[in-house]
């Protein structure tokens, strides 16, 4: 039992993750020494995870507006208009630290949290995606973490009933002690039925909904805001436990309640639970909040105010209801077997008052808890520029065919079927394009509209040049959406970085954010929601800078889509975009030559847009049904994936004479697409591209049962496929 009148010592302050000057700031703000409950509350509100104190100043530079943006960052999720009175609501969020400590529950509650963010705003979730990074395969923990995280994501999403349609999985030693688990949820709502967190009206009832409050997850947000060390395993009790069944009921009950017209404001209890949700509702509405904790449904007896305010028990919501509608609301929640309790009211005092057992346990100024959180302009240094690696300087250690086989079966480039087969990606019956392509496509209701969805970033580019890497992450998401025929509309960003207190990693953050902003502006692709995850490091070893981008695009007619699979024999393979043979930071250089060096490929955003707009128009006019963007592994890897997906080979006879073959095939120049079209269409496409100055080159013709690279290097599609599919299942069963 934690009494409310314990003396606040410097040790206690430190344990709460507050720096001495931050504590002093708080004492000055309230004009007295805080109670322990108050200390808990402020530690929850002022940690990095909730306050964005190191990142806010830089995030301001991101473009967040466009005519189709209904709600940008600052709410539970971003909202965009997709026409016909429909809105797409989406966000991505990290659950890195909990997933490292307890992979199944950490990942499961990550999915649960982001789904809740989306349906809190009135949307029915229609798709889920993720972005995962694990340590090197040989690390003793990696297989265990992959197994637990994948099972957790599936376990939650499958039961909840949302298709998990896309994602990204990769491995690198830099994530050995700090994996990344970023989950993205996408929902659908009517544009005139969107719900916000802002409370209105004085004396309105504040209602607690959902599961009961337990002692799990206390200080989860504080844990997420600290570096890891060897003792981090002991933090397992701060990981929450998910109950997808409760969440499914909560979804149905919330949507039903929203339809009844009883809801004024709603906020899910995510990080920092009851504290954060109540403060946000009050602060946004310029109102005070008074809570009586005696009314909070508890799972365990004897819970203190401190514990209740900091619990991160899952599947809970807070609402402000229209007065007089409590009975109706209660009936809906009881129908779904969920707890419902009026636990407080809005006030005109602008104070956050917590009562328990008849006593006032906390009495704090509500606006200041949010608005007066510390704001840091942390010192940062620019990452040193890397030299450009010229194509001629990279000697081929093996034939191109051997290199391709090596890459197609490598941990990062191999098929991730073992992962996505554990996710129900077909439920709801709208998955037009399943995992394994450039972007997933989900139809919107009965169509013809649809959404193209993807998650992307190339962390090694970001480390070598944060600005270019940030640009590339956005450009790649834009390109992947374009490659299936979607019009890219907006992104959510999940900025995973190491400690902001080290100028080098802060510099990576600043550079990446600037690059992201630049690309978003140039591509008309604003940021509408996001999440910042700092302190991703263990024992001083930071992760690769990893600003994961979740992109959403609109398909006017899902029937007019493209996929990566070769569709028939005798089609002409055309490369759109210019190739210089850029091998710096390429997968080829890293995995075939064993060199992690050089400047990453630059992204020319004007060219990116021009090439992409051209390709999208080809898909939308039904001239082309086969498109694959060129990214990791360049032309060679893209060709192999197209052949594998379609089970059709191709003869690639043409290679430029002024460039080494390895650089041509494996270079990672940006803004490029491979397309396949029948002979007549191909002639038109080459002509059209030429007329507007877009580089377009015929590389070869589809057909046969082998991919034949220039120089008559043939690999059978069967062998490509077997190699591509083998690594991950073998690894997970201990065979590789």
């Amino acid at each position: 039992m934690i009494r409310n009148d314990v003396a606040i010592t410097p040790e206690l302050v430190k344990e709460h993750g507050l720096k001495p000057d931050e504590y002093d700031r708080f004492v000055n703000l309230i004009g007295r020494e805080p109670t322990i409950t108050e200390l808990g509350i402020v530690s929850a509100m002022w940690n990095e995870h909730c306050s964005y104190k190191s990142s806010r100043i830089h995030l301001r530079g991101l473009p967040t507006k466009a005519p189709w943006v209904i709600q940008g960052p600052g709410e539970n999720a971003g909202v965009i208009d997709i026409g016909d009175g429909q809105a797409c609501i989406f966000k991505m969020e990290s659950h890195n630290h909990p997933s490292f400590i307890e992979p199944y529950q950490g990942a499961a509650t990550g999915v649960g949290g982001i789904l809740r963010d989306v349906f809190t705003m009135g949307a029915r979730p229609i798709a889920s995606l993720n972005f995962l990074r694990f340590g090197e395969p040989d690390h003793p923990k990696t297989a265990h973490l992959v197994s637990g995280v994948v099972a957790g994501i599936g376990g939650y999403g499958n039961s909840f009933g949302v298709p998990t349609v896309g994602g990204s999985v990769g491995f690198d030693k830099r994530y050995n002690g700090n994996i990344l688990v970023n989950a993205m949820a996408v929902g659908l709502a009517r544009t005139d039925e969107i719900f916000y967190a802002k409370a209105t009206g004085i004396g309105n009832p504040i209602v607690y909904l959902g599961s009961k409050t337990g002692r799990d997850g206390i200080h989860g947000a504080t844990m997420a805001s600290a570096e890891f060390d060897d003792a981090s395993e002991e933090k397992r009790p701060t990981v929450q436990v998910g109950d997808p069944f409760a969440e499914k009921l909560l979804l149905e009950a919330c949507l039903e309640l929203m339809k009844s017209g009883a809801v004024i404001a709603i906020q899910d209890m995510g990080a920092a639970g009851l504290t954060s949700s109540a403060v946000e509702m009050g602060a946004k509405g310029n109102l005070g909040i008074e809570l009586d904790l005696d009314k909070v449904p508890c799972r365990e007896e004897g819970m203190t105010a401190y514990e209740m305010m900091l619990s991160e028990s899952q599947e809970r919501m807070l609402m402000v209801l229209k007065p007089g509608m409590e009975k109706e609301a209660e009936a809906i929640f009881h129908k779904w077997g969920l707890d419902f309790a009026v636990i407080g009211k809005t006030t005109d005092t602008l104070r956050f008052v917590i009562k328990h057992g008849g006593e006032v346990m906390a009495d704090l100024p509500i606006k200041e808890l949010g608005d007066e959180a510390p704001l840091y302009d942390r010192p940062w240094v620019e990452s040193p520029k890397q030299p450009v690696i010229l194509p001629d300087s990279v000697k081929a250690p093996m034939s191109e065919a051997e290199a391709l086989l090596k890459l197609i079966g490598s941990p990062d480039q191999c098929s991730k079927r073992w992962v996505w087969e554990q996710y129900d990606h077909l439920i709801l019956g709208n998955t037009v394009q399943t995992p394994g392509g450039d972007a997933a496509i989900v139809r919107v209701e009965d169509g013809p509209k649809g959404l193209a969805l993807t998650t992307d970033v190339t962390p090694r580019y970001c480390e070598a040049d944060p600005f270019e890497g940030g640009k590339q992450a956005v450009a790649e998401a834009w390109r992947n959406i374009t490659a299936v025929g979607g019009l890219p509309l907006a992104i959510t960003d999940n900025l995973n970085f190491a400690s902001p207190e080290r100028p080098e990693s802060m510099g990576q953050f600043v550079g990446c954010v600037r690059g992201i902003g630049e690309a978003c502006k140039a591509l008309d692709f604003p940021v509408v929601s996001g999440n910042v995850s700092l302190y991703n490091e263990t024992n001083g070893q930071g992760i690769l800078p990893t600003p994961a981008i979740g992109g959403v695009g609109l398909m006017d007619d899902v029937a007019l889509n493209a996929s990566i699979a070769f569709k028939s024999e005798g089609e002409v393979v055309i490369l759109i975009g210019a190739t210089t043979g850029w091998l710096g930071q390429s997968i080829y250089l890293r995995d075939v030559c064993g060199r992690e060096e050089g400047a990453p490929p630059p992204v020319d955003l004007v060219v990116e847009k021009r090439n992409g707009d051209f390709v999208r128009q080809l898909i939308r006019s039904a001239q082309v049904r086969t498109v694959h963007d060129c990214s990791d592994g360049g032309i060679a890897l893209a060709l192999a994936e197209m052949a594998i997906a379609g089970n059709i080979g191709a003869d690639i006879a043409v290679a430029p004479e002024d460039m080494p073959l390895n650089a041509f095939l494996f270079g990672e120049d940006q803004g490029r697409y491979l397309i396949a079209a029948d002979q007549d269409a191909a002639a038109d496409i080459l002509y059209e591209a030429g007329a507007i100055g877009i580089p377009a080159a015929m590389l070869g013709v589809t057909g046969g049962d082998a991919l034949i690279l220039p120089g008559r290097q043939a690999i059978s599609v069967k062998q490509l496929k077997a190699t591509h599919e083998a690594w991950l299942p073998n690894y997970m069963t201990g065979k590789s």
Partner: protein, 232 residues
């Protein structure tokens, strides 16, 4: 043809089922699990996929004892048609309407993938639009689909021709690779003795459109609708 889709807390493919039945021409409506009666004139009862009651205790165990199940049992006893898909199949087994049980998949993991089924007979209300021996391309999405029964039950199912579908390859051959959840005799679905109750793990309701993977699932719903005279 009038169908009632039972919704339990945790059901999640009820919408997919409504869509499949409606597009085949059925008047499909959802029925809450706490009801004591089925809507008047119900021809077909469907227990849809999902995780009823969170799959807690055992898959289907709690739903199998839900209030509405008495009405479903009575409907089946009258010879009325009942279809249980995925979690619905698990519920039918738990409710005593079908024999056997669905165990954890052989690899102990949830699996979602496209799957061919061999249609074992085409003379039932559920399969008349198919040909006997035809391989249909549908999908599965389950963690516990490993059909298991005692020897005597299996013998009876096989002997009386009560196996509805088997996991197969594209040519309709049953192979170990095609039977990924490890079901006995590659059983994907079974009938009750009177052929009026069908339980199956795969999801025909997700394969009803070319744009979303194919139409091989349509036959099941068209069979059902064509089993009843059209309402005037």
């Amino acid at each position: 043809m009038k169908s009632a889709i039972i919704v339990f807390p945790g059901s999640n493919r009820e919408g997919d089922m409504v869509r499949a039945l409606t597009s085949a021409g059925s008047d499909a409506q959802k029925v809450w699990h706490a009801e004591t009666e089925l809507p008047k004139g119900t021809d077909l009862v469907v227990l849809p996929g999902g995780f009823s009651y969170g799959d807690y205790l055992r898959c289907g165990a709690i739903a199998g004892r839900a209030t509405v199940m008495d009405a479903v049992r009575a409907h089946a006893a009258r010879g009325g048609l009942v279809l249980g898909v995925c979690n619905g199949f698990q519920i039918l087994c738990e409710a005593g309407l079908l024999p056997g049980i669905l165990m954890r998949n052989a690899n102990l993991k949830f699996i979602c993938h496209r799957q061919f089924l061999r249609v074992e007979r085409s003379d039932t209300a559920f399969t008349r639009a198919y040909a006997k021996g035809q391989a249909i391309d549908v999908c599965v999405a389950h963690g516990e689909g490993n059909y298991t029964a005692d020897e005597e039950t299996l013998k009876r199912l096989e002997g009386e021709g009560l196996v509805a579908f088997r996991y197969s390859d594209a040519q309709g051959h049953t192979t170990p690779d095609a039977n990924r959840n490890g079901s006995m005799n590659a059983i994907a679905g079974i009938y009750s003795t009177k052929l009026n109750v069908l339980g199956m793990m795969p999801h025909p309701e997700n394969l009803i459109e070319d744009l979303v993977g194919g139409t091989d699932g349509r036959g099941l719903f068209e069979s059902l609708v064509s089993s009843f005279p059209k309402a005037a």
